[in-house]
């Protein structure tokens, strides 16, 4: 379309173009919704308050920074090694119970890191059954100090390795047999082919998996607190909640924000330029090599150990504690008085956040697809930025934006109470920002299934637009939307930092309740809500397992 034409036909064209522009209103709005608090926070770094930085630097900042980097490195290496190793084991070899492990190794995804943290603590700390047993064996002098960065890293690795495992497994499965065979005939042994070809080829997936794990690592604050291992995220909550030092918390949050953005950029650059899709795709899968004797049992034992430690142990320990709490008697107070209330709170937060986030995601995805320009895609990227930001940072950012509005409304006499910060609105806002990308990715993938020629085909078969909508378009999209809702629902149930900082009066959730009790070593009492979260959290993991199965065998 040439420019002069545009000018000449302005009036007519504006009529035609109007619907196209309205398509972008929602994406624009959501992108702003996300961008404003984050931008506000980023802006804080442009006007740093040196006296605060100086004080932080002289006291706690170097440790928080050092600890955070330590965790990023150790968890990065750990999740990469375990996730990739297990994925290769179950895709390339046959050994006892391989089929079971293939899926079961995803189960630890259902366990929030802070739950794993307190179970690990209760089991392996100095006073826990394991060390007590070892002391009986080796004498009272025996001790292993788990309240260190390594302890926290082990816990984080054990719940986060499935991100790498899941993506690595999918990547290995996609690789055609001929790729591997081509390397073999070129003189590469199985092991060399793995390192020279299979891993580099899977690099984008592996990096994406490790990045997901690292995002979760920097957002965690409860686990590291159990281990007395202060990090930046823990610092934000500690300074805000514990020290009441909002200014310092904001400064640390900005630092964390830039660390998170740095991670994204690092991921982008590590992915490189090469487009890694396999030609054909109809190729056979590589034959799994049958392991025999010692190696078969070694593979079995490795899988069993990982699964046992990362899932069976916490699930088992929580079950026992939950049973004791309910049947034998409550550890403290009376859980009956609050359990229903907290489940209700958790579910209504999670449910409303799921519906709101998915609705917005549908709006954004549909708008972006309809518009189809680079600008629109850029907006979508912006709107889904929140996945990379720690919950505590988002909470701080959201408060920075809405608290002044709240007070302004009161000063103007519009409202008589804090309608934004004092209600679910602030928290929902933070959830939407944080989990938009989870919903968006799922919704967008399902919208991709609706192709224009399907509609045309349906029309040639005499279907009206209503019938097309209900019989063709909605059924195609429904699964994606359902999955998006469940993912957001469960993520909200597990979310801790933003919930702690923003929950409205009297509206504690299962996650908050678990954390409060576990922080005071009321492990048995904490098990009941933790178990509830775990059971709900299994839902999306089961979906993931089934999705994995659908890929061609």
């Amino acid at each position: 379309m040439s420019k002069p034409n545009k000018l000449l036909d302005r009036d007519r064209l504006s009529l035609i173009r109007l619907p196209i522009n309205t398509q972008l209103i929602l994406p624009l709005l959501v992108a702003c919704l996300v961008a404003i608090p984050v931008g506000f926070l980023a802006f804080q770094l442009l006007i740093p308050r040196w006296e605060i930085w100086q004080q932080l630097w002289e006291t706690t900042l170097p440790r928080m920074l050092g600890n955070t980097l330590f965790l990023l490195v150790v968890v990065g290496i750990g999740t990469f090694t375990i996730g990739t190793g297990l994925a290769w084991l179950v895709t390339a070899y046959r050994f006892p119970a391989r089929g079971l492990f293939d899926r079961a190794l995803l189960l630890p995804l259902a366990i929030p890191s802070f739950v794993m943290g307190f179970v690990f603590m209760a089991t392996f700390d100095f006073t826990g059954p394991v060390q007590t047993f070892l002391r009986d064996l080796f004498g009272r002098g025996f001790r292993i100090n788990i309240r260190t960065g390594w302890g926290a890293a082990i816990v984080l690795i054990s719940v986060l390795y499935p991100y790498v495992y899941m993506l690595a497994r999918a990547a290995f499965r996609e690789q055609a047999a001929s790729t591997f065979e081509a390397a073999r005939v070129m003189g590469y042994s199985r092991v060399r082919a793995l390192f020279k070809l299979i891993l580099p080829l899977a690099r984008p997936s592996l990096i994406a998996g490790v990045t997901l794990a690292l995002m979760e690592t920097i957002t965690d604050f409860a686990t590291v607190r159990f281990f007395s291992f202060p990090t930046l995220s823990e610092g934000v909550v500690r300074l805000w909640e514990g020290r009441m030092d909002r200014d310092a918390a904001i400064e640390v949050a900005t630092l964390l924000l830039f660390l998170a953005l740095g991670l994204i950029l690092l991921e982008r650059s590590l992915r490189g330029q090469a487009r890694y899709y396999q030609a054909g795709g109809k190729g056979r899968r590589p034959e799994r090599v049958q392991l025999r004797g010692v190696s078969a049992w070694a593979a079995f034992v490795i899988c069993l150990l990982v699964l046992g430690f990362a899932f069976v142990l916490p699930a088992g320990v929580l079950s026992v504690w939950t049973y004791r709490e309910i049947v034998i008697g409550s550890e403290i107070g009376t859980w009956e008085t609050v359990y229903g209330q907290y489940i209700f709170n958790s579910f209504s937060f999670a449910g409303s956040a799921a519906i709101l986030t998915v609705l917005l995601a549908i709006g954004v995805a549909a708008g972006v697809r309809g518009h189809g320009t680079r600008f629109a895609r850029g907006l979508a990227r912006f709107a889904t930025l929140g996945y990379a930001l720690p919950g505590s940072v988002i909470a701080v950012a959201v408060l920075l934006v809405i608290a002044p509005i709240d007070h302004l409304l009161i000063d103007l006499g519009v409202t008589s109470s804090l309608i934004l910060t004092g209600s679910m609105i602030g928290l929902l806002y933070a959830y939407v920002v944080r989990f938009m990308s989870v919903a968006y990715n799922s919704v967008e993938a399902s919208l991709d299934k609706v192709r224009p020629n399907m509609e045309q085909a349906a029309r040639t078969m005499g279907a009206g637009s209503t019938r097309i909508l209900w019989r063709v378009q909605i059924p195609l999209v429904a699964n994606g939307i359902a999955v998006a809702m469940i993912l957001v629902f469960v993520d909200v149930m597990k979310e801790l930092p933003a919930t702690i900082l923003l929950r409205p009066f009297g509206m504690d959730t299962l996650a908050v309740w678990t954390y409060m009790l576990a922080a005071e070593s009321f492990w048995q009492a904490a098990a009941l809500p933790a178990m509830t979260i775990l059971v709900v959290g299994l839902l999306p993991v089961l979906i993931l397992m089934r999705v994995g199965e659908q890929s061609p065998e």
Partner: protein, 341 residues
Amino acid sequence: MTINPIVLKKVYKSFGSHAAVNALDLTVCDGMLLVLLGPSGCGKTTTLRLIAGLDAPDRGEVWIDGELVAGKGVLIPPEKRRIGMVFQDYALFPHMTIAANIAFALNGAKNAKQRIGEMLDLVGLGGKAERYPHQLSGGEQQRVALARALAPRPAVVLLDEPFSNLDAALRKEMRQEIKRILREAQTTAVFVTHDQEEALSLADCVAVMKQGQLLQVGSPQTVYLRPENREVADFLGEANFLPGVADGKCVLCALGQLQLATPIQGDVEVMLRPEALRLEVDSRGDGVVSEVKFFGHDQIVTVCLESGLVVQARAWGITSEFEVGARVHVTLCGKAMAYVK
């Protein structure tokens, strides 16, 4: 005496109860381009994979370049066999440039850079070393796959239906190209295909396979013109089969007395290629045209003989004298093949 680069002796391979390769004997001479031809599922790809070492034979021996690589308790893994292979889907590594793909095959050899340049020149992709596979056309990807297979100067090159992902026009062009490249590289090659035209136009030697066994091995002319049995004749192009009685050098059938290429006795089936039958419009002819299929440069004319038998003859497309109902005279050019019933 030169060593035969590939020798298979009584090789068996079965998958479950299905015998994919059954007592196969095969020898490929130095510098030869052998085409393994057969319908899908005949065991030709399995044979290729047994040579490559991607599958292990149940019984029998595989020799490459005078060395036993499988059999008698020996099983050399594929990476030690000095072979090059071109896969059906090319198996180019999508995350590497063209040059890196070839370098991968050279595996750190000396003068790798120079060799990559040579190979790219050989396949006519000199300027595209730094491209990624997805930036190339199908034919170009094909050439890269070949260059990659040839780069380390393997003892033999194996090609597994390499043209099946190309469209017809490109396929014809690539056929000549591959033949040229293999010739220039002076490599022994085994090429698997189910396309008989492809096989005949490419091969120095064609090996026709069916149900895990070799039916015939020979030059393209031999297997086409002198197929040893009815199955080979049937698979390679079109053929008419007429009952007849042979007495050594001659056979008597519906077309009269015909000369035989190979002597045979008794009740036989006579195999006649359509293009070997010549038609003449003749009001006293012994057949009537019942159908004409026109293809442009030629046409297939179906003729109903007086005896009630039907034969098909190929005629050039330039004549339109064969109309349905026309009476024609059918004669044979050259000699016929006949097989015992």
